[in-house]
Symmetry: C2
Subunit: 323 residues, 2 copies
C-alpha cells in the first residue's frame, strides 16, 4: 500500500488539487474556480471541496491521507501556515490557512510559495529529476522562480527566496513596484515584453504589421506579438529576441550565485518556445564563464500543469521525514 | 578529549594554518609565504611545513588529527580535491592537491573554494553564528562571496556557487573579464573603486585633493582614496558612497534570490567601515522589499583572519558526519 498525499495549487483564478502517491503518481485531479473575490470563506470552501473530490475520485478517504501540501501565491509565512497578503486573494490578510484546512478535514496541512512548489515538483518528477542543483522560472504576467540547491528546496530566512523576477539587470532602468529599478520582470514577463514593444513602436520609422497599435495600444498583448513573430514580422521577432536575451542575462546573474546545472522555464510565455529559449541560451554562451557555462542547460518545464501540486506533496513528504 | 582538525587558508601570498578543536577553538596558528611562483613543489612544502608546525605548536601529532581542510582560490574541483587553474598559483594546473597532502602526512584532506570557506567559518564561529541563511562577501582586489542556506554550505553543481563579484548591475556596463558586463567587481572592489574614481577625475571641473592623479594615476590606489575621504575630501567621499551604494544594489539582487537574514563583509576594503557600510545599507532600505528588508542586517565580518581556516575545519567535520 503506497502512502497517499494531497497537493493543492492555489491560484487567484483556479484551485487545482490532486491525490498523489509517494512515487509521484497523480491518481486523480480536480480543478475549480477559486472565487477569491467573493469572501474569505469562498476560496476555503473551494479548496475543501476540491481536495474532497480528489480524494473521493482517487478511491481513498481522508483517514488514509498522510498530509496536504498547498502552493500559494505570497507573501506568506510558511512556518505559521499563514497567507500574509496575496494580491489576488484580497480577503485573506494574515489568514491562518493551514489551521483552517486541518480543522475541516483533520489532516496535517503545509504551505509554501507557489513558485517554490513548482520548482520542487519539476525537480521531483519533471525537468529536474536527478539534478541536485536546479532552478525554475515561470514566465507569466510576472516572473517567479524557485531553486533546489544540493537536493534541498531553497526557502531563505522568511520563505521569500528566489524572487527571480526582481533580479535587476540595470540599476538605472525602469522603476519596478518592488523598489528596485531594471528588474527582469519589466522586460521579459508577458507584461514586460508588451511594455518594451510599445516603447519601441513609438519610433515611427519601424516597419511592422503591428503599426496599428502605435497610437492605440488597446487590444495589444503578448499573444498578438507572438502571432506577428510567428508570421515572420521582423520587428516582433526582435522583441522576443530582446526579451529572451535579457532573460538569459538575468539567469546568468542567478547562475553565478546558485551554480545550478539546469534551469527549466514554465509559464504561459514559455510556450513561445525557441523565440525565448534561443536568445536566452545565446546570452548564456556570450557572457557566461566559458570554462563551464556550456554544461548548464536551459530547458522547458516538463510538468507545467502538475508541478506545483506535486511539489506541495513532496513538501509534505520532507516534513514527514523531519528535514 | 576533543576532536582535533587542521584548517588551511591558502592564498597566493601567504599560507595560514591552524590546529582547531571540534568547538572551533584555535589552539595554534602558523603563517608563512606561499612561494607560489617558485615551482609546483614549493607551495606544497610550505603547506606541509605550516600544518606540521601548527600540529606541533598545538601539542598534538598527526595521528590525532581527524582531517585537514583547505580553502583555496579556484577554480577548483572540490570533489576530486584538484586545483584546476588558479591565477596566483601558476604551476598548479589540474593539480591533485588533497592526494598529495594526504600522501605526505597520512591524514584525510578536503578542499573547497576560499570564499566559501570564509563564509562557512564566519557562519560557524563569527558573524553568522545561529543564522541559518547567511551570506558573506569579501571586498579585496576582487569580490568573492559565500553562502549558507538553511544551515548548509551552498556549493552548486561544480563548486562555483557565489561568484558574487560577477553579479551584473548594468547589462550595458563596462566589460568584465568573466564575459558579463557591469559586474559589481568593476565598481566596488579595491580595483573597481580606483577605476571609477580615475574615470570621474577626468572631469576637470571636480575639485579634490586628488587632482594630481588626474594626469598621472601612478601611485593612486584605494588606500590613497581612503586617506582623502578620511580627511573630508568631498569627491573622495562621493566615490566611496557610489561604490558602497552599488554594492548594496548588487547585494539586493543576491538577497532577492537567497533571502539571507544577515550578510557579513570582509576583505581589505571592508576596513573602510561606514564609508562602505552606510551607503550599502541605504541602498537596501531604498530599493528592497519594504515589508521585510529592515530585518536584514549588513555587518562586518568578525573573524577576518581565521574564518577561512575555521570554515575548512568545519568542512571536514561535515564530511565526517556524512553530510
Amino acid at each position: 500500500m503506497k502512502r497517499l498525499y494531497v497537493g493543492v495549487d492555489l491560484g487567484g483564478t483556479n484551485v487545482r488539487s490532486g491525490l498523489v502517491d509517494e512515487d509521484g503518481t497523480v491518481l486523480s485531479r480536480d480543478t475549480r474556480k477559486t472565487l477569491a473575490r467573493e469572501s474569505a470563506e469562498a476560496p476555503v470552501k473551494q479548496i475543501v471541496d476540491s481536495i474532497t473530490e480528489s480524494v473521493r475520485a482517487g478511491g481513498s478517504s481522508f483517514s488514509e491521507i498522510r498530509g496536504i501540501g498547498i502552493g500559494s501565491p505570497g507573501p506568506l509565512d510558511a512556518r505559521k501556515g499563514k497567507i500574509l497578503r496575496a494580491g489576488n486573494l484580497p480577503h485573506w490578510i494574515n489568514f491562518p490557512l493551514t489551521d483552517i484546512i486541518k480543522e475541516r478535514v483533520d489532516v496535517d496541512t503545509y504551505l509554501q510559495n507557489d513558485a517554490n512548489m513548482f520548482a520542487f515538483g519539476e525537480w521531483w518528477m519533471g525537468a529536474g529529476r536527478g539534478i541536485d542543483d536546479f532552478f525554475v522560472l515561470t514566465l507569466g504576467t510576472g516572473i517567479g522562480g524557485g531553486a533546489v540547491c544540493g537536493g534541498k528546496l531553497l526557502t531563505g530566512f522568511n520563505d521569500n527566496a528566489c524572487e527571480f523576477g526582481h533580479t535587476s539587470i540595470d540599476y538605472n532602468g525602469a522603476q519596478c513596484w518592488c523598489g528596485q529599478k531594471g528588474c527582469i520582470e519589466l522586460y521579459s514577463s508577458a507584461t514586460g515584453i508588451v511594455r518594451i514593444t510599445l516603447e519601441e513602436l513609438a519610433n515611427e520609422h519601424i516597419e511592422t504589421s503591428l503599426s496599428e497599435y502605435r497610437t492605440n495600444p488597446e487590444g495589444f498583448n503578448s499573444h498578438v506579438l507572438f502571432k506577428a513573430a510567428e508570421a515572420g514580422d521582423t520587428f516582433a521577432l526582435s522583441m522576443f529576441d530582446k526579451a529572451g536575451y535579457l532573460l538569459g542575462l538575468a539567469l546568468l546573474n542567478a547562475h553565478n550565485l546558485l551554480n545550478f546545472k539546469r534551469v527549466a522555464i514554465g509559464g504561459g510565455l514559455a510556450r513561445s518556445g525557441e523565440l525565448i529559449f534561443e536568445p536566452a541560451r545565446r546570452a548564456f554562451r556570450d557572457r557566461g564563464f566559458q570554462s563551464f557555462i556550456h554544461e548548464v542547460e536551459i530547458v522547458p518545464a516538463e510538468k507545467p500543469d502538475d508541478a506545483a501540486m506535486l511539489g506541495a506533496v513532496r513538501l509534505v513528504m520532507e516534513k514527514e521525514a523531519g528535514s
